[in-house]
Symmetry: C2
Subunit: 362 residues, 2 copies
DNA sequence: ACCCCTATTGCAATCGATTGCATAAGCCAT
DNA sequence: ATGGCTTATGCAATCGATTGCAATAGGGGT
């Protein structure tokens, strides 16, 4: 045990004294103080020079900047952020509340993450990605928000954590959520009018001849529940029957379940509203295997308009969510909140993108 | 000017004194010192107690931990990381060297990011996501590696930055790259044997009756170039002609270009090796529109085996890359490197996944 | 009764950059 | 020549947690 202890200590020492000297002949400049010594000025001046402040002499500033570049010096961010009380990092969290099987690699989430990464990088922020598995303790949001590591938090999808998010938003301000808006809610949300999306989908199906509908998708997530609500309303208004088939949204488990569900419950259905493009794709494939033609025998409308919706055969008619615009809006709002300014929620109108998985209207 | 200065100072003060008091009646405990005062001990003891060290009395430790939980106190990570010289953050970078149009939301990258997020979170690390647009200055890797914000860096895809990565690996150790392995390289890489993948694809196509082949995909990325090389070797060995059609891999621009390319160059082709599943999907759709049947008229083999490869119609025969296993391997290796232990590169064997876009062999 | 030892706890230096304030130098006007 | 002003720089406190070392108290052995 003593030996182990000794070894560890020595290891630490070795690390410290050798760090950065392996491939550099020069003594390696690691801190502001090092650079200050080389430049013959104080650390304060170096700090100001590197920050490009006008307080320092132009000549001095450039000399120091050149020196820093030559030595590949970059100030330690940890120290900087500690002192300036600003991290320049935004936390992006995906709560996986219902359906633990729904992996973080869900295409919709990842597409949104991609756009967020672009927007945040553009604005000089870094992006810290976390997945949260809410358990009983329910401190997943506090943990990341209160860690002192991030200036603000973006939550992608409310899952079944709506109440917790709403509660957290009262004490933690720089918080923007992708999801469903409810009247009177406190937290700033950006999302799509899901009910309208469901309605539009059904109206399109009815207009192009569908007479017996199904809604495919589990409605634990409140966004999905709202899509079903809109779809049901429109179906009722049109006098067309609609059946709800709550298959899970998890990518990997979708295949078998959808086949079982469709085999047993879908006889006579000629119009399908899918909770997402992925569900629609699974349905497409399932129908194809059963020898049903799309859109001749059954019409399908997806939801999301992911890039790959245009790549299926037939290409998918779908309800488009403006993911890129949404990402931009979220970052704008979060920045406002970080600056202590107010921000209002945004509910975007969904649009129908007609491709070839439905017939022409009329 | 004086007024402005004064205002700024006051603003700062206000922020400081009011922070965290908005929704809390209690004076809010923000620092170790605050908690120490409440608990009647020193900050050192609190620090040790929260870290769960055995040095402190069990009783005291539990009292402090309870107190911390009650007040929702969480130590400031910036300070902690500064002192302990360990950030617990891994940087994940996607260099977009060739093809700036290739968005960060490329499904393959994002799938890998998803798995990495899972693996890293599991291991107690956070993940900082960056996209890098290498320009002339070429310091994108140093910038993130030397920022002091991360313990290590994972680079997803070498793009056309192989030399820069190789160079950086000499001075920056905790670095693991997803991509192509070259003999004698210094940086630790995890990836697939791309040449073997190309070879397998061609062998399968030939075995199932293809007599005139095409390879679809731009080969600026060295991984893709290697796939083409393997494919060409196998075609030559089998005495079957193969044509290279360098369409770009960018998702959005793929549609039109692939159609133009296939229209002009693909007459007589009955076997296609795609550089990725996405390219394969585009080809699939294109052929479908032209009335060609897959696999009866043309057979297609994709590359990657993304989850959605099973969802196309017909489902895609493809060369599988072990993305999940790769992510795990990368994290394992990175952890070793962070601990100053050696790590060796890993080249995984690709496997053929036969679905319905190719005919039965023999 | 005295000394040694161990289990706890406090003290203060430290990580590295930032920034308010003080200081110094240079310049102009009186 | 002196005071006022601008510009440039240095000094030292500060951000908040960690940790080596010192100090204290209580327990046991002789």
């Amino acid at each position: 045990m003593i030996r182990k202890k000794a070894r560890r200590t020595m290891g630490g020492e070795t690390y410290k004294s050798m760090a950065g000297q392996k491939d550099n002949e020069v003594p390696a400049i690691r801190t502001l103080a090092d650079l200050a010594r080389v430049a013959g000025v104080s650390t304060g001046t170096v700090s100001r020079a590197l920050a490009g402040k006008s307080l320092v002499n132009v000549e001095t500033r450039e000399r120091i900047q050149t020196l820093a570049r030559e030595h590949g010096f970059r100030p330690n961010q940890m120290a900087s952020k500690l002192r300036s009380r600003r991290t320049g990092v935004i936390g992006v969290v995906i709560p996986l509340g219902h359906e633990l099987r729904q992996h973080i690699s869900d295409p919709f989430f990842l597409t949104l993450v991609g756009y967020l990464a672009d927007e945040l990088t553009e604005g000089g922020y870094d992006l810290m990605l976390s997945r949260a598995l809410p358990d009983g303790t329910s401190d997943w949001l506090d943990r990341i928000a209160g860690s002192g590591m991030v200036d603000g938090v973006i939550v992608i999808g409310q899952s079944d954590q709506y109440d917790l998010i709403e509660a957290a938003s009262h004490s933690y301000r720089p918080l923007v959520v992708w999801g469903q808006h409810r009247a009177g809610q406190n937290h700033c949300v950006v999302g799509t009018d899901n009910a309208a999306g469901g309605r539009i989908a059904v109206e399109h199906l009815v207009a192009s001849g569908a007479t017996s509908l199904a809604f495919l998708g589990d409605t634990t997530g409140i966004e999905i529940a709202d899509r079903l609500r809109g779809a049901t309303e429109a179906a009722t208004a049109a006098g067309v029957p609609i059946r709800h088939i709550p298959i899970p949204l998890a990518t990997d488990a979708m295949g078998p379940e959808i086949e079982a569900a469709m085999a047993s419950q879908c006889s006579g259905i000629n119009g399908v509203v899918a909770a997402s493009d992925l569900v629609a794709m699974a349905a497409l494939r399932c129908l194809h295997q059963k020898g049903m033609r799309v859109p001749e025998d059954v019409q399908i409308v997806g939801f999301d308009d992911l890039p790959l919706a245009a790549q299926t055969s037939p290409p998918l008619t779908t309800i488009r969510q403006e993911i890129a615009a949404g990402a931009r809006a979220m970052v704008e709002r979060l920045r406002a909140l970080v600056e202590k300014e107010p921000a209002t929620s945004l509910v975007m109108a969904p649009t129908l993108v007609v491709r070839q998985s439905t017939r022409a209207e009329g």
